[in-house]
Symmetry: C2
Amino acid sequence: MRIGELSKRSGVPARMLRYYEEQGLVTPRRLDNGYRSYDEHLVDRVGKIRGLIDAGISTRIIGDILPCLDRPQTIVVTDPHPELREVLLQERDRMTQKIDILVQNRDSITRYIKAMDSALGVVAEKTAS
Amino acid sequence: MRIGELSKRSGVPARMLRYYEEQGLVTPRRLDNGYRSYDEHLVDRVGKIRGLIDAGISTRIIGDILPCLDRPQTIVVTDPHPELREVLLQERDRMTQKIDILVQNRDSITRYIKAMDSALGVVAEKTAS
DNA sequence: CTGAACCCTTCCATTAGTGTGAAGGTCAAT
DNA sequence: ATTGACCTTCACACTAATGGAAGGGTTCAG
């Protein structure tokens, strides 16, 4: 498919798709006229990229971990240099840390909302009486 | 305490502490000489801010949710306008979404690492034989 | 008193991720 | 053959987060 369709289907502006290409995250083939041609599985890929960027992962990091994200992963394991493993462990830990912080703060927000609600509940009871 | 000590204790550059102030996330008192004076509980606060920024939450959003994050929250609930509740719900959902994406991708990384390890394990067995 | 180590404010620079627009090529349909 | 929708590259600009320097006070220790 061409860039417009991918843009529509993934919800990502064409501008950004070109940017991701520039950053080495997607490398579409080119048609004879120079148009980019994406194949099907890149829809998912782009979705993943967007999610990760929204979650505060930089394109550089995403580039590092992308090989792990394409199913099935069992094919790509033929890379026995130990650098990669370290990078992945480190990035996994960073993600875990972000997750913990987000969970913790989200729960604080949830508690706060509940507190608001019960406070308003009291008010409602009083005004109803 | 003054900015240098807070910087050391929180691990956040003084430059950034001034920036957070500019964004309305912390408002230290001022000494007679104009120096910023932070009190104890801001150490935690700054830590939280850093965590959230690292997790991809913008200072604008952080400003919105900060009131929920200071323990104990029960004091601050005296704000019965319904706008805030919507904002909080929305932000909580965004955080949940980020969490889901991070968890999912972290698990992919973990699986990939395991696959690498078992592949290398096979190699090790072969070379050992 | 002087120097070191703080602190202040005010700029300017950089990077990443975006938005937007110009100037032009391709292509299908009228 | 022209129109309109799509594509190309290039470029300029914006925001958020951050780094850093310049120029100038304050405090304290020697």
